[in-house]
Point group: C2
Chain length 187, copies 2
Amino acid sequence: MIKYPTMKKVTEYSKSRNRDTANQGMALEDMINKTNEYYLQHDIAFINKRPTSIKVIKTSDKYKISEAVFLAPSTLDYVGICDGHYLDFEAKETASKKGFPKNNIALHQINAMKAIIKQKGITFAIIFLRAFNEIYLLDGQVLIEEYNNNKTIIPYEDIKQFGTLIKEGYFTPVDYIKVVKEKYFER
Amino acid sequence: MIKYPTMKKVTEYSKSRNRDTANQGMALEDMINKTNEYYLQHDIAFINKRPTSIKVIKTSDKYKISEAVFLAPSTLDYVGICDGHYLDFEAKETASKKGFPKNNIALHQINAMKAIIKQKGITFAIIFLRAFNEIYLLDGQVLIEEYNNNKTIIPYEDIKQFGTLIKEGYFTPVDYIKVVKEKYFER
């Protein structure tokens, strides 16, 4: 079944010492976009959100679209480069207290991750667990293995054990490059 | 001035021994997309077109957009990975017999190329000169230098001298990875 992108809901989340209250209520996507702007301005990394895939059917003038349909994407949310390393990742959030529901992962995303790993790229998911106010980086290979088991959820315990908590930087709501460098660049 | 994406015109081009007649009349974008599909299926590279950047204003149902506007992109047309190397490039075509008119290059594209070079990525333009039925790969650094001089065109002679002719593969209308490997991977 093809999963079409839908508008992401922003839900309130509880206070925590881990994350600043300034970014409360912000969608994960907005936090990552803000972080990427800072990375670009400070020559830390060049990472961009892939636009939503659509097919334009009718335009009303040069700038306006009067009819279009969403297309099924075959790629992940973000792609870019940091110090010669290719990064390609998905951003996901959930309100679940049990972990990350696997019906939020589409087969095309798993296939994209497999293709990236084959080409020696770095691929992962950034998972925002709103119930715990925690954001984790979960490696693509771990995600592929979890996807293939028979559970309906990636348990919170697994995310804690195999993932890495992403802290908030002073100017970066989700300072994931810090984790990427520790996890992948030191090899 | 913001340049908005417009529909690309497909113009007929003259016969040549360099390129097969089978792909005549095909837009450069379609040729690259077909090539990328082959690369993916044969584990040669994972390269994708970035969708056109739009802002959805109104949706009529889950799958349909009834109002949207084009946004100014801040990135290049294609991005991907080949054997650990980050590739990010623009695809351009022209009917000019003099070379490549520089008003086809936007400042945001030059800035993107500079950011990619800073992060040690590979960036270039694939330029289809329809008048000669030739497709060239022109390195990003060369393009930045040409952009900054006071000519209105990148002369055909410069493209021939500094660029590399991309041949047609048996299953790949624009076999650019072959050129990329020779030009960038051997260093």
